[in-house]
């Protein structure tokens, strides 16, 4: 497994706390959802970054009250076929305005990277080393996107409308913005 964060292969600075293992007082940690919800007040007092692993069958609305104190949310792809976390990611970014690290974890392969980025993920626990190394190449695969999402890439429809608008204002300008 390799962690790719904001396009770079990096060391994971977060300690993954499993089940009921003790949470250190200092240093970045990622804790299970049940711990976060049960000990919400304790985690709120923590000064160092706290993250949570949020299962894909639990509503994001339940996590919403904790979001402003969280540095990271890790969403789970138990298999690359199970796409529930794509919806959770978009809800976090687009409905709840979450700006912290949004990490994809589970079976993460290179052919999902573009979908995940568009859904709002910015960190990936990539299953195969070769896929992590290919990250930058994979991002270059596509330059056209039909849907507007919160990743900021312009949709084809908006690009066309802007091009049509600039055609009207400066005659002869055919260049379509991407």
């Amino acid at each position: 497994m390799r962690l790719v964060r904001r396009g770079e292969i990096v060391e994971d600075r977060f300690l993954h706390v499993i089940d009921d293992a003790p949470v250190p007082e200092h240093g970045p940690v990622i804790v299970p959802a049940a711990r976060l919800i049960a000990d919400a007040a304790d985690f709120a007092r923590r000064e160092d970054p706290t993250g949570v692993v949020w299962p894909n069958n639990r509503k994001i609305a339940e996590l919403a009250p904790c979001l402003d104190r969280l540095a990271l949310v890790a969403l789970v792809f138990p298999s690359f076929r199970d796409g529930r976390a794509y919806s959770q990611a978009r809800q976090l970014r687009e409905n709840h305005g979450f700006r912290g690290e949004l990490r994809a974890t589970g079976q993460i392969l290179r052919d999902q990277f573009v979908f995940m980025l568009r859904a709002g993920f910015d960190a990936f626990e990539v299953s195969k080393d070769a896929d992590a190394a290919a990250f930058a190449d994979v991002l270059r695969r596509y330059s056209v996107f039909y849907q507007p999402t919160a990743d900021g890439r312009q949709s084809a429809l908006r690009a066309r409308l802007r091009a049509a608008g600039s055609e009207r204002t400066s005659a002869g300008m055919q260049d379509v913005e991407r």
Binding site: F80, R84, S87, R90, L109, F115, A119, R141, R160
Partner: protein, 552 residues
Amino acid sequence: MYVYDELDRTLLAERVREFADQVRRRLSGELSEDEFKLLRLMNGVYLQLHAYMLRIAIPYGTLSSEQLRMLAHVARRYDRDYGHFTTRQNIQFNWIKLDELPAAMADLARAGLHGMQTSGNCVRNITTDQWAGVAPDEIEDPRIYAEILRQHSTMHPEFSFLPRKFKIALTASEHDRAAIKVHDIGLRLHRNGAGETGFEVIVGGGLGRTPFIGKTIKRFLPERDLLSYVEAILRVYNQYGRRDNIYKARIKILVHELGAEAFAAEVEAEWQAMRDGALALDPTAIANIARRFRVPAYERQADDPAAVAEARASGPAFDAWLGNSVARHKVPGYAIVTLSLKPTGGPPGDATAAQMDAIADLAERFSFAEIRVGHEQNLVLPHVARCDLPALWRLLDEIGVATPNVGLASDIIACPGLDYCSLANARSIPVAQELSRRFGDSALSRNLGRLHINISGCINACGHHHVGHIGILGVEKNGEEFYQITIGGRADERAELGALIGPAVPYAEVADVVEDVVAAYVELRARPDELFVDTVSRVGVEPFRERVYAAR
């Protein structure tokens, strides 16, 4: 038809490059078959009984002559000289080699064709009325909304790994030719009291092993909200649709288990959170898409030209075809012509490369270079000047696509069945072939009137047997092919699931039983023009059962 711009072409080229890389990684062993499976499915590549099968999307059933020629080329160059048009307005090739797939896809992309949205658990090819844009009774052209939905659902970042496949169909006519009530989402364009255009939204219809007629969850959705509302439905489904059991994973099961009202409430909550966001469709956005639909330059033509009257007088064959395969067009002097891909004794929906090339030429000469594919597995030339009908008929007859059986008993819908498909339990094609011989006589089938026979080779129902006026379902019993027969199904605006008429019968008896069902109808019908399906609806299944099974 819709003309691709630079953005559409770029995306397609990028997709072809990506797939070539995925095939390379599979061939080199970097990808396991399990990992590759999902990627090939996202490009329309299935592994069938004998070979890989490539399914190509024909968005809302519209093809240009150039595209049809490209399909002919692929049939000739990479397959065995023919293709099979499916019930979802797609075409499939049954004998493609894995290492030639990237080349075939690159060729297809040159004509703007691809296999995206033809398989996998994504939003599938958007379908609509094959008469869209030319039907006299439609309120607006549904293809514009179909294209908006096509773009929105292509490689959707949130909905490419749904619990199961997802099918959307639209209609804008009173008479539903797109079977919208048996789709995951059915959209019916209509106008409200204020004269505004919007959609009735129907969800949870579907066939397969648990058939349902869809339920209306919104009577009138304004057109500006089309994408946000569809997205809300998909988001609810993506999160709560079942993933534990492939047979319970379609949205129809979720709608059924939650109840349509509770489902609608979930959708409403999601929708309210996003309806005024980036997905709202303003009139400029809709106009931008509509603008790229090329509208034919119709000319002033006589509605009742002398050439047609002369041809009718010259013999019954033209007249039979005219009465059967030619429909009224919204523009005076023009006609909609259906090309039957159901020749007597032939496999339903197949076309040879030579036929495809010839039809592409005829479309160029007589139909503004446009061809449509309907879910009944026939082709349509949508803009034929009525004065050209006699000349066109002779040329269609020469290539074997002027059988005057459209909508009649030998116009059979059938899946590929056990001859090709790894899921099938029984053969479909030979059953269809035999029935088309039994009902091939045109005087007999005209006397029977509109009669849809639909055949599926397994419970997955690709041949839509539940909604056939007569439905035939192949099952396996102790290693032998048996067939269950239902009657009274229909897929139009009065959609209904057929009812079982009696015990399953062996392969050798299917055609006899169907003939007996039809004989019972002739005996039971109130008037010669009472349709089969109306007789069943009036008298019920029992009188049919008595007559058909009494002697068995």
